[in-house]
């Protein structure tokens, strides 16, 4: 029996909708958009964008239905690091430039139209193109500034945590808010001053009978591109210092790398989620589709710079993970609704959850039981220096020892292997879901 299920992210779009039929994703093109879609194909723009790896390719199924290529993992702008959002913004502008070459334009510039495959941003909304009418402005200009320029400027000039405003404001950071939050030195950047600060003050009930020349439009796109390229973010700690090995001796670090590789080699896993992935050095020991989560922006940035072609690094705080948001809480999915990994990795994470966040062991077992099959988890006993340092500032009320760890995890998992890291008290377990 055929079961069609509409996807929550596309119901606002008058041009068409996304739906799944027996688990396969399709896009229905509404009759009103078919002439634009025909122009996208006939003008050669679709071929150019797909050949350049800028737009997701699709198979034409006939009757106004297309089957887009599968994205391994859907991620959202509030989960991206600075470089990911920056590259997504530049991709949007590049596509707009190319679209104009072919007599078309982007009718929206939402950051949600971009996904990442092997570290490269790719545009996924095939129905975002429309015919460019001579003299018209870029209708998506305001949205582009809210979705890309404002959050990038706030991160670059103020604080990296302001990137999380995208989680609150689904249609991008309001420009008046960005303008208030940006420091004076940001306003010395002419692009920021004009596209955010002055732009935020431009209010009009309606604009009729205007004519924007092609030179003006190209000038605006080029100015946005130059402004985004001028923005940079660097963590105060620098990239090179982010390593998971800092708690280990040289022998310990080598041993841990060997053990993780050995345990991964014993199992077959195509989808991997690594929580607390840090700079990703253990995540990349896997193959297949790897998503490396960490709550630290600098780690995610470092991970993206080092291993972007091998994995997808994302900002995620496990104690407050990405929720379902948008209309009826169904437009953007919570992280747990975006697939089931074959393997979950949690290295040097458990003690942070239990001692740092007062989470009971059974709740953590419940969380990791999201894996389809395997779990690789590190246990760090109380005697370890790092745990000792965490306990030095609080009462030791925690039922946290190796025996209770094993007995609690045995309720949901079978322990397949357990290896102690050389020159340390730490152990790494390979478990299989019962």
């Amino acid at each position: 029996m055929v079961q069609a299920e509409q996807i929550g992210s596309s119901f606002r779009d008058p041009s068409g909708c996304l739906y799944k039929e027996n688990g396969v994703l399709f896009r229905k093109i509404n009759a009103c958009y078919l002439p634009q879609y025909k122009m996208l194909k006939d003008s050669g723009l679709y071929k150019r964008l797909v050949d350049d790896g800028l737009l997701i390719s699709h198979k034409d199924m006939g009757d106004g239905v297309i089957k887009p290529d599968v994205i391994p993992f859907i991620s959202y702008p509030y989960e991206w690091c600075f470089s990911q959002l920056r590259s997504a913004g530049l991709l949007t502008l590049r596509i707009q430039e190319l679209a104009m070459e072919y007599g078309m334009t982007l009718k929206d510039a939402s950051a949600y139209n971009i996904q990442f495959i092997k570290g490269k941003p790719i545009f996924i909304d095939t129905l975002s193109f429309e015919k460019y009418e001579k003299g018209e402005a870029w209708v998506a200009y305001g949205q582009f500034c809210r979705h890309f320029l404002a959050p990038l400027a706030l991160v670059a000039y103020k604080d990296v945590r302001l990137g999380q405003l995208l989680r609150v404001y689904l249609d991008g950071v309001p420009l008046d808010l960005a303008s208030k939050l940006l420091p004076l030195r940001a306003k010395l950047n002419i692009g920021i001053l004009s596209h955010i600060c002055v732009h935020s003050r431009a209010v009009a009930k309606s604009v009729k009978d205007y004519n924007l020349s092609l030179y003006s439009l190209l000038g605006i796109i080029e100015s946005l591109e130059g402004t985004i390229k001028s923005l940079h973010w660097k963590s105060g700690n620098g990239w090179g210092k982010y390593q998971t090995t800092t708690s280990y001796s040289e022998i310990g670090a080598q041993s841990k790398r060997f053990i993780v590789g050995y345990l991964i080699g014993k199992i077959d896993s195509n989808k991997v989620w690594d929580f607390g992935a840090n700079n990703g050095e253990y995540s990349v020991l896997n193959s297949g589709n790897i998503v490396a989560f960490d709550k630290d922006y600098a780690c995610v940035e470092a991970c993206h710079r080092n291993y972007k072609d091998k994995l997808l690094p994302l900002v995620l705080d496990l104690t407050n993970p990405s929720p379902a948001i948008g209309w009826m809480n169904s437009e953007r999915l919570e992280v747990w609704d975006r697939g089931t990994p074959d393997l979950i990795m949690a290295l040097a994470l458990l003690h942070h959850l239990i001692i740092g966040n007062n989470l009971p062991m059974n709740k953590i077992v419940e969380l990791f039981a999201h894996t389809k099959r395997y779990l690789i988890i590190e246990f760090i006993p109380k005697e370890d220096k790092q745990v000792q340092s965490m306990l030095s500032s609080r009462d030791d009320i925690f039922n946290y020892d190796q025996l209770s760890f094993e007995s609690e995890f045995r309720k949901e998992f079978k322990i397949l292997d357990k290896v102690t890291i050389a020159d340390s008290l730490r152990s790494i377990y390979l478990m299989e879901k019962k």
Binding site: R12, Y141, G142, I220
Partner: protein, 41 residues
């Protein structure tokens, strides 16, 4: 995905577009002039 075109953004583009058109105009025509000289050398 659908968005509502914002009148304020359009008005601002019309205003800022005048200034931003100049470098593009110069770039394009400077390229054309250079091309013309190369051809007629």
């Amino acid at each position: 995905m659908y968005i509502d075109p914002s009148a304020g953004s359009i008005l601002f583009q019309v205003l800022i577009g005048v200034a931003l058109a100049i470098p593009i105009f110069v770039k394009i025509y400077w390229g054309k002039i250079k091309k013309w000289f190369k051809r007629n050398k």
